[in-house]
Symmetry: C2
Subunit: 421 residues, 2 copies
């Protein structure tokens, strides 16, 4: 028996008529020899409404925010918000039955989707899927809430906002599904943001590694955790549109193992992120251990540092250290450093927030030289100044002035031959 997992987000489940369309899409995928499980999000807007109620009832408890227990917020928050997905599963099961398709809902605690006890941001430990597999192999469509699980004490847990993609991939792995189809409001993964580059192309395939870089660099189509899980468990995952009528072509983009991509590009896509801040520490004492002190304290404060550039300062025996972090961490980063100014020893800490990170991504970089040169030349030809650089095996990122973002993305998309013909 071939098993298929299909996942529909909140927009696709946003109203009764949309849920009925989802039922038609599921119906069109049913055929002899194929078993189907569907993972669904809460109806759009519902999770926000429930979060608002929970925060309202909790008052300042929500701010103190212990995970659980008599003074906790997050375990009961989970009880409240998980109700949104519960409603969706029941509604889709009903809509399927209304079309004559045997179906039933399985809540997180019924499957069970076992998680750790980090309420509100739980991680899936294990999905013992024997009962689920038996049910769907018997021809019944299972409808499972994304985002929901149950902890070791039998209490409801949630994976954190947007955890439904992760749920879908985890269920697909547990069911040994041939594929996990993620239906979204876009029709696939593009070589870059089509709002910036008109000639951006939908990719037929992209490797897990590339998708992971794309996701973590700002391409919002799939959540990073779901891609990590798909890669670790080798779950072929397809992104496709939930707005195409059943029967119409809807190939989407397959996220799969690198080996399954025959025609490899050197660079597959261009990503960008405006959620960046650049912090410059000027006049840092050039003594051993100073960098460890700086980045150790930032790590303790929960600041995720991305690029780091070290340079000599004008003052002899001093250096400048420049790093980037996400924009929302910038204030905390500076406060942390100012608080340790005596121990670190520096003259000034400056923040620049009007910066953007633009990245070229491609597994082909591993075996091709000259990618960096192409990139720098393309940017130089548009007079775009590079403020910092970071690289991985399959990615080159540059930090630039944010006002040049679109120009840079378009230049790189062309330079790497990604424009649609």
């Amino acid at each position: 028996m071939e098993r298929l997992v299909m996942k529909f987000g909140g927009t696709s489940m946003g109203a009764v008529d949309r849920i009925q369309r989802v039922a038609r899409i599921v119906a069109a995928e049913r055929r002899p020899g194929r078993a189907i499980a569907v993972v669904v999000s809460a109806m759009s807007g519902e999770t926000d409404r429930l979060v608002g109620l929970a925060r309202g009832a909790a008052g300042d408890l929500a701010e103190r925010g212990e995970r659980a227990g008599p003074q906790g917020f997050w375990d009961e928050y989970d009880v409240v918000v998980a109700a949104g997905e519960q409603v969706s599963t029941g509604l889709l099961a009903l809509a399927l039955r209304a079309q004559g398709i045997p179906a039933r809902s399985w809540q997180g605690w019924q499957v069970p989707v076992r998680t750790d006890e980090a309420h509100g941001v739980a991680r899936i430990d294990d999905i013992p899927a024997e009962a689920l597999a038996t049910a769907i192999d018997g021809g019944e469509v299972a409808v499972i809430p994304g985002f929901q699980g149950v902890d070791a004490d039998g209490r409801v847990s949630t994976l954190g906002r947007g955890g439904s993609d992760t749920s879908a991939v985890a269920v697909a792995a547990a069911l040994k599904a041939v594929r996990c189809d993620i239906y979204t409001d876009v029709d696939g993964i593009y070589t870059t943001d089509p709002r910036i580059v008109q000639r951006a192309r939908r990719m037929e395939r992209i490797s897990y590694e590339e998708m992971l870089e794309m996701a973590s660099l700002g391409a919002k189509v799939l959540q990073t955790r779901s891609v990590e899980l798909a890669m670790a468990q080798r779950v072929p995952t397809r992104v496709l549109s939930s707005f195409v009528e059943p029967g119409e072509p809807n190939p989407g983009t397959m996220v799969c193992d690198e080996d399954e991509i025959v025609e490899k590009q050197i660079v597959s896509g261009i990503a960008y992120s405006r959620d960046e801040a650049k912090i410059s520490l000027v006049g840092v004492a050039d003594t051993p251990g100073v960098a460890a002190e700086i980045f150790g304290r930032l790590a303790e404060a929960g600041v995720n540092v991305d690029m780091i550039v070290q340079s000599h300062a004008r003052t002899p025996g001093a250096q400048n250290i420049v790093f980037t972090c996400s924009d929302r961490d910038a204030v905390r980063a500076v406060e942390t450093l100012e608080g340790a100014r005596d121990r670190i020893g520096f003259e000034t800490a400056q923040v620049r927030r009007d910066v953007a990170k633009v990245s070229a991504i491609g597994v082909g970089m591993r075996s091709h030289v000259g990618v960096a040169r192409t990139m720098f030349q393309a940017l130089a030809s548009k007079s775009i100044n590079i403020e910092a650089i970071s690289t991985s095996e399959i990615k080159i990122s540059v930090l630039i002035d944010a006002s040049y973002t679109e120009l840079a993305v378009r230049a790189l998309h062309s330079a790497f031959g990604l424009d649609a013909v």
Copy 2:
């Protein structure tokens, strides 16, 4: 350890500020040596919203309405609507914690509240409450969804609309609670409807039997099933107002064993119902078995017959049979009889819908004669014609023209000495 169960309906839980007041009411009842479990309904309006979604998604499946299984409606309906109570429990647990009170929610499947498999109208089989008792005896307030349960297959079930009172009494019985306090939008049970009789009085106590008659005769404060259960399990149940601030007097009405009522009235209350129809079968053959034929067929059609009056017709060898049923069953009753006209044999079937039933209720009737006489005299003095009569050990009901309802209720309230001084 003394255990107390408190129950709050949808109006009391209607918004975040109301839920916070419920938390204050619960807080005021906490004291050393007393353990508390709270049963809550969905926020007002929420169940209607969810029922609407479920019916929308199900289309005509909702009308076919099988209980469960691949063609069923009610099992997934239960999944959808149970979410309303789940949200309430989480919110109240958070509001309690925000006031420094240890609390947690227990869903129907967590307690567990075991029910049969009659989804949508399930009955509670059993509540193994050991874990719950241990938790509350340890000082933690348990917040439990009314209306919800779990069937033998581990699927969510609901008790039918308004089942939360029944949940509360069942939890109180399982916990061997000293009392079940039902907080409502009225401050107790009245001798009759205060909208009709200004001098109606709140009763301090009423017996289970009387309350059962009051509830089944139209007094909407408690659901009939919850009173039946309270009586069967001998759970002292108090009805009181959820709109009185904690600390203010709020005695309510205690529903309890007859033996605990010291000062017994002959008649305790006057109830009325306008949801009545009178059906007259004229010219029925006066042969053995004809009544069995008539009422057998009505029972098969699910028509609940109340009063029956048999009289001789003008035609020799024929009789007239008059009976009452609830107004919503009247059309079905007549259709059923017309469909069996050949087998029954009658001339005409007439329906009158502008009738009302007025009842005097009191356990004192058992040991006092003359109650019927007082009732008939009071009605006669106002020139109110009695169209049918039915009696039980503790109740006399009369059917009258509906336009005389208020007049009759006021006359009887006075005649039985119930008017407040």
